[in-house]
Amino acid sequence: MAEISEIDALQIGSHTFRSRLMTGTGKYPSMEVARGALRASGSEVVTVAVRRVDLSDSDEESILGMLQQEGRIILPNTAGCYTAEDAVRTARLAREILDTPLIKLEVIGDTQTLFPDIPATLEAAATLVSEGFTVLPYFTDDPVSAKRLEELGCAAVMPLAAPIGSGLGIQNPRNIEIIVQKAKVPVIVDAGVGTASDAALAMELGVDGVLMNTAIAGAKDPVRMATAMRLAIQAGRDAFLAGRIPRKLYASASSPIEGVIGSKFEP
């Protein structure tokens, strides 16, 4: 059956996507599971990290090769960088490898929470935008930072739902809602999603997409969880567009109140 949601595209920079699920490629038990999960997810944008080549192991399997075989858009990231300078260097290296302007900017501020360093993220974003990158910055769920990143020229903003890999789901839905209401660029929730209902809820708040890694790669059955996430993202998007019923404290009958047997005629 044709999905209604297939005609509702997401635009980021010069790219147009049908899928609103973006996925990471870390932590998979094997390349084959990663490939299977990728297919099941339907994700078109896939993020990868930049790391030193392991000079002692020339037979390393190439994640890039697999992703290109599968025809996905590569979104390099600056994961692991703790300064604006390192993040900018890493972004430039990523562009050199693949000649893509896309960069998921992460400047981490703390090893335990992996929360971003906000001033350093703003600084790096400014530099990268000026160098022509299409910048997708990871940051907290702070509406003011969202607006600053947008003003700096970022192509999208990527607030976290909860700490990376924590699986806690959307910790502060109202902040996400505010960010969505005030944003003129796409809002992609990045990090913290744990299960399908978290992803659906994010979409129902009106965000444009969700990026996740551990929730899929760390599930007992990553391929099945990837299917779940694909469906949940579509479900949440459709529910958002369909316009949900209002919440009420009391009940409202779904069957007619009149015409029940045994009731007397009341003229």
Partner: protein
């Protein structure tokens, strides 16, 4: 001569180019990027860029990550 390659000390011949270094590491066909002393060396210059003693060289590629 000595260079620092991906954080480790390596002994290489004088006048080695980036291209020669990549070949010696069997990375000539792998999609990588190369940085010398925090500056990127574009692919087009691999054959002419000659490494100097104590250069700090980074050779990076993409790995799984989120």
């Amino acid at each position: 001569m000595r260079v620092l390659l991906n954080g480790e000390v390596h002994e290489i011949a004088q006048q080695t180019t980036v291209e020669e270094l990549l070949c010696s590491l069997h990375l000539e066909r792998t999609p990588v990027a190369v940085e010398r002393n925090t500056k990127i060396i574009p692919r087009a210059k691999y054959s002419t860029a000659v490494l100097q003693p104590d250069d700090e060289v980074e050779i990076v590629h993409f790995v799984g990550g989120g």
